[in-house]
């Protein structure tokens, strides 16, 4: 039930009986929630629990089948983002919706100016942004170009944008995904200042620690239903986890194991692609071990994965598998060398949504003689292979002929695992392998990685989830602005130390490459 605290406060936002269906799926099932003035309410739930749907209904992107929204006692007309903004709702998306080539000022006033805006309006806007920044501790130079700002600064701009539109209710969608642990703490302090000034905040996250650190009250969503509302003061992490998932989760545990010989070696690899770059990266990966790469998103992880995946050829340096230096890098060469590649983005890189399960499963091996050879594809054999993978990896899909886009994220990831793990790889490159998955699927991916480790595959695990790295990796390196730190044994690593390194401590700051 609603916590007592909300009862004492003035209610600014009231959702009652919100129901939204997508075909057979009930994304929100009669959800009722209220938010008091000056309160931070956490909205906790796994991916697919209905958090984003609920917020999209609140913001007018979707229209609910049933239910009402009241803001300060007045009903909010459904389906109109303009009405939501006018009523004082401000949304800060996980991926900030900012135009990189415009200044902070332009980004903030964008959409609020009238057609005949005058320069005096801009002067006034600049002044107002400065004032807002000072009041709320969000100082940013209004005339800086967004492209030159750090991720933390961009987030400030996104929040300022909402405040500039006189938001009284802020919705933050997974705001810490792009921040270091230290930056997250500073964000939480900023949020506390907001509520002290009378703002109200909905904080969406699937991370328990953050909810406990930032919120006064937490609402837990599971499979479209509001399963609990608690004051964070009297609740434990374990209890919340249980509520969020609905059952106990056995943690995958890495057994101690002696690593074998070096399988993958990168020596002094440098490459530059647009604004992304890697500077003089060397690493060694041994059979039967997991090397974790930690770092704040956008520090070169994806480029490192592209190099090891054969998508981008390094401009300097060498890469060797089993001691043999690789030339003419291409994805085909890497597949032939026994490198299993789990890409960061399942939809954009891993799978072809409009093609069938079978077609996606053979995408790396369709030219092999076991599927026909000589330029032809024997679809009967391909289907037999697909059925085996579907059974072995417990992929839930209507049929091998179903288009992949109908599958859930977890099943898509199982499909990719099946495709790359089926031929017992020497090296596994896992780039953010659990991003956006529910807890069950995360556990499955972890099990598979540990099983590959046991079969003495060499595993490169790139992840932004520190808990994941700390529970799986044998060694951890930190990537920062294209540079890679020496690896540390897991036993020597703490979250605090990783956080500082992710923020750049211990790296050669003489690098000028990030100036642009």
């Amino acid at each position: 039930m609603t916590g007592q605290e909300a009862g004492e406060r003035e209610i600014v936002l009231k959702l009652s009986g919100i129901t939204k269906r997508f075909g057979p799926l009930t994304a929100n099932d009669a959800i009722s929630l209220s938010l008091g003035r000056g309160e931070i309410v956490g909205l906790l739930g796994e991916n697919g629990a209905g958090k984003t749907t609920l917020m999209n209904i609140l913001f007018g992107h979707y229209v609910a089948e049933a239910g009402e929204i009241e803001i300060e006692g007045k009903p909010l007309p459904p389906g109109s983002p303009a009405a939501a903004i006018a009523a004082g709702i401000g949304m800060v998306h996980q991926h900030f919706t900012l135009a990189d080539n415009l200044t902070v000022l332009d980004n903030i006033v964008l959409g609020t100016e009238s057609f005949w805006s005058l320069s005096s309006d801009r002067a006034r806007a600049r002044k107002r942004i400065r004032e807002l920044g000072q009041t709320f501790g969000l100082e940013v130079d209004p005339d800086a170009t967004v492209a030159t700002l750090s991720v933390g600064e961009r987030q400030r701009v996104a929040i300022l944008k909402a405040l500039y539109r006189e938001a009284k209710i802020l919705i933050l969608d997974e705001p810490t995904a792009v921040l270091t642990p230290q930056e997250s703490v500073s964000l939480f302090n900023t949020l506390k200042r907001f509520v002290a000034k009378g703002l109200s905040i909905i904080f969406i996250s699937h991370k328990l620690n953050e909810i406990l650190a930032a919120c006064q009250r937490v609402a837990v969503l599971r499979a479209g239903q509001l399963v609990a509302e608690r004051d964070t003061a009297g609740v434990t992490r374990a209890e919340l986890a249980q509520l969020m998932v609905g059952r106990n989760i056995p943690q995958a545990k890495a057994e101690a194991q002696q690593p074998g010989g070096i399988v993958l070696r990168l020596e002094h690899v440098s490459v530059r692609k647009g604004s992304r770059h890697l500077d003089d990266i060397s690493l060694e990966l041994r059979a039967g071990e997991i090397l974790g790469i930690a770092g704040v998103s956008g520090n070169g992880q994806s480029l490192l994965a592209d190099v090891v995946g054969g998508v981008v050829a390094p401009s300097q340096g060498t890469m060797a598998v089993d001691g043999a230096e690789l030339r003419d890098l291409s994805p085909r060469v890497m597949v032939a060398k026994g490198v299993a590649r789990i890409p960061e983005d399942r939809h954009a890189e891993g799978l072809i949504g409009d093609m069938t399960v079978t077609e996606n499963l053979i995408s790396e091996s369709y030219r092999a003689s076991r599927f026909g050879g000589r330029g032809l594809i024997d679809w009967t054999k391909a289907r037999v292979f697909a059925k085996k993978i579907i059974a072995d990896y417990a992929v839930k899909c209507p049929s091998p002929e179903a288009p992949v886009r109908l599958l859930s994220g977890g099943n898509m990831q199982k499909l990719i695992l099946g495709r790359v793990m089926a031929n017992t790889p020497r090296v596994v490159l896992a780039n953010q392998p659990t991003r956006g998955l529910d807890v069950g699927a995360i556990g499955y991916v972890h099990e598979q990685l540990l099983a590959a480790r046991k079969r003495s595959a060499a595993i490169l695990l790139i992840s932004e989830d520190l808990d994941e790295l700390l529970s799986l990796a044998d060694r951890i390196s930190v990537i920062h602005r294209g540079q890679l730190s020496e690896s540390m044994a897991r036993a020597d690593v703490t979250i605090q130390r990783l956080g500082l390194m992710m923020a750049g401590q211990g790296f050669d700051t003489g690098s000028t490459a990030d100036a642009a």
Partner: protein, 349 residues
């Protein structure tokens, strides 16, 4: 009003919507016809009779459909790989030029050899015509929509230049036309005394070949993968640029065959009015066919029937044959809408 993706697509919707689209275009045109004080039923009946009311009419429709099958296939093949080939017209003329160059006596070969040679030459010409924009696309990122479209005008002007110069028939009393192809280069007629020629059979075989490539070969798989998601295709190890180059060869070659078939099967020589926009109509045909090679045959016959039927109708009913353009255009618009509706559901509020 808003659109929501459909979770499933029942067969009834997959077939029902396209049929409804054609019906909608017929009804729309009937309404237009009523503006000129003629009974829409008699006009529709006259169109039908003109297109399929007799053996002669039906064979005329198939004759008109032949180049459309080729250009429709050319466009379908390219569009499947998301290579936006708007230049089938230019490739058609390239094929026609090759046919005239090699088919007017330069190669004195017997018919069973000369015809395959001319086909190969025409395919080469068309393929070359599309390879240039495709190379510019893959190498420098030049938008192929612009280059292929503009090459249409370049090609027509180039043909005009050839017809005034190198390829001009000296016996044509100054008309800008090429010499006739030699008898060995002509595609035999299928029915004595009618215009339908072997090109139609070749077009059907080409459609079957394209279908086979699409369904059974690794290349067809690669082309679909590149079309649906080039990034994922490349990540999986499919050489995207090389697949696009092969697609260009196939697509351009098919459009080149349209030019060969028109010259060697129907006209006998090359003139500037060889194609009344077969290359552009090929885009309509391919879209109506939802880019399916077998659908291309049906769509080409439908479009050809509308044009042939409308010509006959305008002679007897006095309604301008431009109604054919309206009918084809409306049917395309309804078809595109119908295809979208098979994927999305409309919700009011």
């Amino acid at each position: 009003m808003r659109l929501e993706p459909r979770a499933d697509r029942p067969l009834a919707i997959l077939i029902g919507y396209p049929v409804a689209a054609i019906a909608a275009s017929v009804i729309f045109c009937a309404l237009l016809v009523m503006l000129s004080d003629v009974s829409p039923f008699s006009v529709l009946w006259l169109i039908f009779k003109g297109a399929a009311g007799s053996q002669f009419a039906f064979l005329e429709t198939l004759t008109r459909a032949t180049p459309l099958i080729f250009t429709g296939l050319a466009v379908a093949v390219a569009f499947r790989a998301k290579l936006w080939n708007i230049g089938a017209e230019a490739q058609l003329y390239a094929g026609a030029v090759m046919t005239v160059v090699f088919g007017t006596g330069f190669l004195p070969l017997p018919q069973p050899i000369l015809i395959p040679v001319l086909m190969a030459a025409a395919m080469f010409g068309g393929a070359l015509m599309l390879s240039v924009p495709t190379f510019l696309k893959t190498r420098f990122g030049v938008d192929e929509v612009v280059t292929t479209l503009l090459l249409n005008f370049v090609a027509v002007l180039f043909v005009s230049m050839l017809l005034e110069g190198l390829l001009k028939d000296p016996m044509a009393l100054g008309w800008p036309q090429s010499r006739k192809v030699i008898p060995e280069a002509q595609l035999p007629k299928l029915v004595e005394g009618r215009r339908l020629h072997l090109g139609f059979v070749i077009a059907i075989l080409a459609a079957i070949m394209v279908w086979f490539i699409d369904r059974k070969s690794a290349l067809g798989y690669e082309m679909r993968a590149v079309g649906h998601n080039p990034k994922a295709a490349s990540f999986a190890g499919i050489p995207v640029n090389s697949v696009l180059a092969k697609t260009a060869l196939l697509s351009g070659g098919l459009a080149g065959l349209a030019g060969m078939s028109e010259v060697a099967g129907l006209r006998g020589n090359l003139t500037l009015d060889l194609s009344p926009g077969f290359g552009y109509t090929g885009i309509v045909v391919a879209m109506l066919a939802l880019l399916h090679p077998m659908g291309v045959i049906a769509a080409a016959i439908f479009v050809a029937a509308v044009f042939v039927g409308a010509d006959a109708m305008s002679r007897s009913a006095g309604v301008p044959s431009y109604i054919a353009h309206v009918m084809v255009a409306v049917s395309l618009l309804s078809m595109v809408t119908a295809v979208m509706m098979t994927r999305y559901r409309m919700r009011w509020r």
